[in-house]
Amino acid sequence: MDCKFVPAVCSYCGTGCGVLFEVIDGKINATLPMKSHPVNHGKLCIKGWNLHEYINSYMRLKTPLIKEDGRFQKATWDEAIGHAAVKFNQIKDQFGPDAIGVLVSAKITNEENYLAQKFTRAVIGTNNVDHCARL
Amino acid sequence: MTIKRIRFMQELLTFFGLEGRLHLEWISSAEAQKYVQVVTDFTEKIRQMGPNPLKKIDAAVKGAI
């Protein structure tokens, strides 16, 4: 058996609380607040406390899915990205770039958010980009 | 068992500032008079104490939402 504690930053919002994952036998078993973290001082909100739940959730998607004939089918990343690119291009061609909007999330990193913004403005060509934490 | 739990709850409610709103009394099915007396006394006591302050909070919370 094996029991270790892995520090991490909560991915839910921009606050950046320090969390500690309790890992037993290689599986995340619980989330703890990091007592010595300068941001949260050993406190968490309900989302942070339940970080481990979604990691282990049976409902979590592990591969991309593409809807065919009204049902989701498992697909590879290449297929999914290709499919999305085709569809985006179709919309852009038919209705113009402003018909597309992008909503980004606090659950991804700053760098990824930057990329998303860049993608929206430079690739799609619209300013329709927003972030959930702006609410 | 009951007496323990109720006694604990009474003390706890006192700490919360809800003193005297919980009462326990043993009344057998043959003690109709006692039952009436206890219920009347307690109703009167609660009436004097005024409405449950928690209801106010409930209303305030609902109003806020």
């Binding site: 520090p7 309900i46 | 003390e11 003193e19 326990l24 106010k56």
Partner: protein
């Protein structure tokens, strides 16, 4: 013998399978499970000021491996927790080895008085509207009348953001199904939380269980004086039943049928003078 040698001995004598202690990582002292496979790690074993609930980790381990033998660093509060978990059959005392350490710098203090938790600063606004962290249950009862106690607690409870941190961190909360998540008792999806039902439920469930480690108050992001509340819970249980959770492995008075303590129902008092009006 120093701590590391002691743990090494336990491994050598084959008394434990895992030892729960602390290890520094990037300047943070974090809990860690030391095992025989990686004895070299033992050199990094430390005692931490920041307290994590090692017992809770032990129960998690026991859940996965029922026969695992666990060693751990134990302060006074940890020992009380362990006693309580033995009482409630969540850990088997035969499978637990403790290395007792004192809460530096002072030697062990008496029950419910941990040096790491005091004094705590209370802001001016909170002092006028809410409850001082460092209040004593008795002085709190004396200082305020029924009405004031009520409004002060309501002020505190209304802040609750329902993070469940108090329950999650609690070393003696082990239920698989928690009443606080029971939709019929605590309405899901609303804030503020059902006041004061949420905290009353937790307070009653703490009766005969709370070992007063103070972790809940520590974990509360809204600064609700939970420790004061559970100290009063403990005081009531101690007054009525002469029972102090974690001081031994006696059964909780709430699970003993028949009267260990002879109690009479409380008589109905006269109405409380001059307290007809309650304010929020």
């Amino acid at each position: 013998m120093n701590l590391i040698d002691q743990v090494e001995q336990l491994f050598i004598q084959d008394k434990i399978d895992i030892f729960l202690g602390y290890k520094a990582l990037d300047g943070h002292l974090l809990p860690h499970g030391f095992t025989r496979d990686r004895m070299e790690e033992l050199k990094a074993l430390q005692v931490s000021e920041g307290r994590y609930s090692l017992e809770k980790i032990a129960t998690h381990l026991t859940e996965k491996h029922p026969d695992i033998r666990i060693g751990m660093i134990a302060r006074e509060c940890n020992l009380r927790t362990l006693n309580l978990l033995y009482t409630w059959k969540q850990l088997n005392p035969e499978n637990i080895e403790t290395i007792n350490i004192s809460c530096c710098p002072s030697p062990l203090k008496p029950h419910s008085d941990c040096s790491y938790l005091e004094p705590k600063q209370t802001g001016a606004y909170k002092k006028t509207h809410g409850i001082d962290f460092n209040a004593d249950p008795d002085t709190f009862l004396d200082d305020f009348n029924n009405k004031n106690r009520f409004s002060r607690w309501m002020y505190e409870f209304n802040k609750c953001i329902k993070c469940y941190g108090c329950r999650n961190i609690c070393p003696v909360c082990f239920c698989d199904e928690c009443s606080l998540e029971h939709a019929s008792l605590v309405e899901p999806g609303t804030l503020p939380v059902d006041v004061p039902i949420f905290h009353l439920i937790r307070a009653t469930h703490m009766a005969g269980r709370c070992i007063d480690c103070g972790l809940c108050e520590d974990a509360c992001p809204m600064d609700i004086p939970l420790r004061l509340l559970y100290r009063q819970v403990n005081a009531i249980v101690s007054d009525i039943f002469d029972y102090r959770p974690g001081n031994g492995t006696d059964q909780s008075p709430f699970t003993i049928i028949g009267e260990k303590t002879v109690l009479e129902p409380k008589p109905m008092d006269a109405q409380l003078e001059g307290e007809k009006e309650y304010g929020l």
